[in-house]
Symmetry: C3
Subunit: 337 residues, 3 copies
C-alpha cells in the first residue's frame, strides 16, 4: 500500500510487505524511543488525539510517540458533552476537527465509526480501537514484539508456534493478531479458552483458509509445552453482564513461574496485551513471573512506541527525514530501557 496520506483502519488493509515495511521503520525509531537521540522531524505538526472512550495507555502511547518525532498533541477525551450529543453527524465532526491537525489518532466505542470518521477527514486517521472491531496498532506491536523476541534465536515469524490463552471471544487483540498472522507461512496457533469464550468461528476459519494450523483446547498446561509464545489475556469483565458472570471465568487459567518451569520450553516468551489483572481472583499472569527474562509484556508496550512512531512517519511521509533532524540527548536517561 501507499502509506503517505493513508488512513490506518484495519489489519486487513495490509499485505505482508506492508507489515515488513512498518517493522523496518519501527526498527529505525529505536534510538529515539530509547533516548539515545532526539529528532524534531515533525516540529510544528499537530496530532489530534480523540478518545471518545477512555484508554490511558493507548492515548499516552500515541501522544508520546508523536512527541518523540517532534510534534504537538491536542487531545479530546470523553463523549457526553460533545457536539455529537447535540446531534452532530460524524461527517461534520470529522470535517471540522480534521481542520485542526495534521493526523488523527482516534478511539470510539462503536465498531465502524472510526472508518466513517476517516471517510470525511481531510487528514490521515489512525484507528486506536473502535469497539470490539479493530485496533491495528496493537496487533502490529504484538507482532513486532514476536518478531523482535524471536530474532535473537535466528527465527522469523514464519513457522511461529503460539498459544493464545484466556478470553478469546471478547479479546479484541487476539482477533487482530490472528488476522495478521494469516500473512505468514506455516504458523501454528493453539487457542486455549473456556468453551463459552472461544475464538469466533469466522476468525478460526480465516486462519485455516490462510494455511494456519489451528488447535483448540480448554487445558492450559498441555497447550503451552511446544510453543514459542504464550499470549495470555485478561477476562474482559466489562463485556459481561455481571461481575458474577465474569467470575465464572476469571482465574481459570493462571500462568506462574512453577507452571512455566514445568511445562514450557526454556525460552518460551510470555506476552499479554495489558492490563493484566493482578487481583487474587484473577492473576492470569502471576507476579512471580516478573523476574523471568522471557516475560516480554513491558517490552511489548515499549514496542508500541516504535510501531506508532513508524505509523506516523509513514502516513506523514517523513521516514527518510527522521535522521536528518536528529541530535544528541542532553538530559539524564540512564536506566530508561
Amino acid at each position: 500500500m501507499e502509506f503517505a496520506g493513508s488512513h490506518i483502519l484495519s489489519v486487513h488493509q495490509f499485505e505482508r510487505t506492508d507489515v515488513e515495511r512498518i517493522f523496518a521503520v519501527a526498527d529505525r525509531m529505536g534510538p529515539y524511543a530509547r533516548r539515545r537521540r532526539v529528532t524534531r522531524v515533525l516540529d510544528g505538526a499537530i496530532l489530534g488525539s480523540m478518545f471518545f472512550e477512555p484508554s490511558t495507555r493507548t492515548r499516552v502511547s500515541f501522544g508520546s510517540a508523536f512527541n518523540l518525532l517532534g510534534g504537538e498533541v491536542r487531545e479530546t477525551t470523553g463523549f457526553e458533552n460533545s457536539a455529537i450529543a447535540k446531534g452532530e453527524s460524524l461527517y461534520d465532526t470529522a470535517r471540522v476537527l480534521s481542520g485542526y491537525s495534521d493526523v488523527i489518532a482516534m478511539r470510539h466505542p462503536v465498531a465502524g465509526s472510526v472508518a466513517e470518521f476517516a471517510a470525511a477527514s481531510r487528514v490521515p486517521v489512525i484507528n486506536g480501537g473502535d469497539g470490539s472491531n479493530e485496533h491495528p496498532s496493537q496487533a502490529l506491536l504484538d507482532l513486532y514484539t514476536i518478531k523482535s523476541e524471536l530474532a535473537g534465536r535466528g527465527r522469523g515469524i514464519d513457522r511461529l508456534r503460539i498459544a493464545m490463552v484466556g478470553d478469546l471471544r471478547f479479546g479484541r487483540t487476539v482477533h487482530s493478531l490472528s488476522k495478521l498472522l494469516c500473512l505468514f507461512e506455516r504458523v501454528q496457533v493453539t487457542l486455549v479458552s473456556p468453551g463459552e469464550l472461544r475464538m469466533p468461528g469466522e476468525i478460526v476459519e480465516e486462519m485455516r483458509r490462510a494455511g494456519i494450523e489451528v488447535i483448540e483446547s480448554d487445558a492450559l498446561e498441555a497447550s503451552i509445552s511446544h510453543v514459542d509464545i504464550v499470549y495470555s489475556t485478561r477476562i474482559q469483565e466489562e463485556r459481561f453482564g455481571t461481575q458474577a458472570e465474569a467470575d465464572l471465568y476469571r482465574g481459570r487459567y493462571r500462568l506462574n513461574q512453577s507452571i512455566y518451569t514445568h511445562h514450557c520450553e526454556p525460552n518460551t516468551v510470555i506476552m499479554h496485551p495489558l492490563p493484566r489483572d493482578s487481583r487474587d481472583h484473577a492473576r492470569e499472569l502471576d507476579d512471580d513471573l516478573n523476574d523471568n527474562p522471557n516475560l516480554a509484556i513491558f517490552r511489548q508496550t515499549d514496542n508500541g512506541m516504535l510501531v506508532r512512531m513508524a505509523l506516523f512517519a509513514l502516513t506523514l511521509d517523513v521516514v527518510e527525514q527522521v535522521d536528518k533532524h536528529a541530535r544528541d540527548v542532553n538530559w539524564y536517561t540512564a536506566g530508561r530501557f
Copy 2:
C-alpha cells in the same frame, strides 16, 4: 485599540478599524494554517486554556491555533473539583493561573465571569464564551467568513444582505455577529424565527440605531430570496426546560438543496456556527447541501484558526515577526484544505 497586552472580551470593544486590522492579520496566517509554511514565532510561549464549560471545538481550535504559531498549551477543563469549589475567588484563581502562562483562552458558564477573571489576570485573556453573554472570536470568524466569501465577487461587508434563521433568542453567535455588523454601512439583516425565539429587542434596537435595516419574519422561503448570506442556527435545546419544549421549534426551518435552488440567488452563501443538528427531527441544514459549493460551514471553522491565530499574534505583539520564524513544511499535507 492597542492590541498588545489587551484582553479580548467583547465585540463592543472593537471599532471598524480594529476589525479590519484583525482580518488583515488573519489573511497573513493562511499559509501557516494551510500548511504551506511552519512558523515558530511563539516557540517557548504558553497558552493557558481554561474551559470551565465543555466545548471541544472552540477549545481545540484555540489550542491548535496557538500550536500553529509555535507555542505550547496547558489545558484545564471542568469545574467541579477546582479550587473555586473550595471557595476560591475568581480574583485569586486569576492571579495564580495567570502566572503559569503568557496568554489565556477561557470559557465560563457565568456571564461576566471572564471579564472578572481578566481584571485580575497578569496576562491577556481571550473570552472563549461566557454563558449567553459574549463569544467574540466566534463573531469575528463569522464576519471574516462573510468577508472572504464575498471578496471573490468584488463585494465587501458594506451593503451586506444577510438572513439569520432559527433560534435567535438563545443563539449567542447571532447576537455577537449582529453587534459586529453595526460597524458597517448599509447592512440589511432579515431575522427569521418563531415568535417565541425572536432576537432580543435590545439587539434589534442596537442594530437599527447603527443604521442597519432590520426585517423580522417567521417565514423561511420568502426571507432568503434576496440575500448574500443565509446564516442558519441550531435550536439551543440545552437552554429549554425540556426536550418537549425544544421539540416545538426543532425542525421548524429546514434548508435543503431543493429549497435553496428554488428560492435563493445562485451564489447565496450558507453559514452555520455548528454543530448543526442532523437528527431527523431537526435538520436545519440538510445533508444534501454537503456538495453545494456555497455551503461555507467548514470554511467557517477553518477560518476560526486564522482569526484565533491573529488574536494571539496581536495580543502578544508578534505580527511582524511571524514570517521571520517561518520555514517549509516537510511532512505530507496534500488534501488538507
Copy 3:
C-alpha cells in the same frame, strides 16, 4: 543527595545542603519564569503528568514549569476508568507508563502509592501529593518563599519566627513545612489552631527534637505579634465528615488588614498554601489584605514555578546547560511579574 535520576518523594530525603542546592538552582530559573529569557534545554523531553486526584494548580504548575524548560507534557487525570480499575497493579502501571516519558509528576489519593509507583518506574518520579502524606514541592516552594521574602532584610531561614494558623491537623502543607524547618537553626514555630485541629503530636515532637522552639496556642492575635511569617491555612473541609462539622472551625481565625495593623510587626509576611476560602463564613485571609505588599500568597505560587523547574533540572541533570540553550523572548511580556 545525588539528584540526577533520583525520585523526589519526601522532604525527609533532604539534608540542608540539598535544600540549599535546590534553592540555588531555583534562583537561576528566575529569568525564564519571568519571561526575560527562553530556554529550550529540555526540547524533546516528555513529562508524564499523572494526577489520579484532581489538582488544577499543582498540575498546571508542574506542566508549565516543564514547558518553560522546553519540554513537552503528556497528561493523565482521573482514576475511575484507568487500568487500575481493571485490576492492574501499581507496579505494572509504573513499568508501562514510565516507558512513555523522561520524568513523571504524580499525585495519588493513597498515602505511599507514589513511592510504590516510583519503585517500579524507569524514570525519576516527583511526588505531587500522595493523600495526607507528602507534597515535597509545596514544602520547598513555601520555604523558598520564606527565604526570598526575608532575604531583602538581610535575614536567612535560621532564627526564623513563624506562626502557622488554622487547620494544622489535616493541612498537609504545614506538616511538610514543619519537617523541612527541622534542617535549620534556632527556629521558633507558633502553632495556632482549635484544640481539635492541633498539629499531630509526632510532628511537634520531631520539631522539638531538632531544636525548634514550639509554642502551641488557640489565640490568633497574641500569637502573631512577634513573628516574621504568618502562615495561614484553610479548613480542609473535604477531610471532615460533614459541612456542619467543618463549619465549627471555619471562620475561627480571620486575619484582615485591621488585625494586621494592630498586632503584627510592620513587615510581617503573610503566606497561605492556597486556595484561600473567600466565602463569608470562612475568610481566613480577608480580601482587604490584597493591597498589602507583605501579602506573599501569589509570590508563593510564582515561586512554585521556580522550584519545580529546579527539581526537573536537577533530576534530569541539565542545570549547567539551561543557560546555553537560552535566547531572548520575542513576544509581549509586560506586566507579567
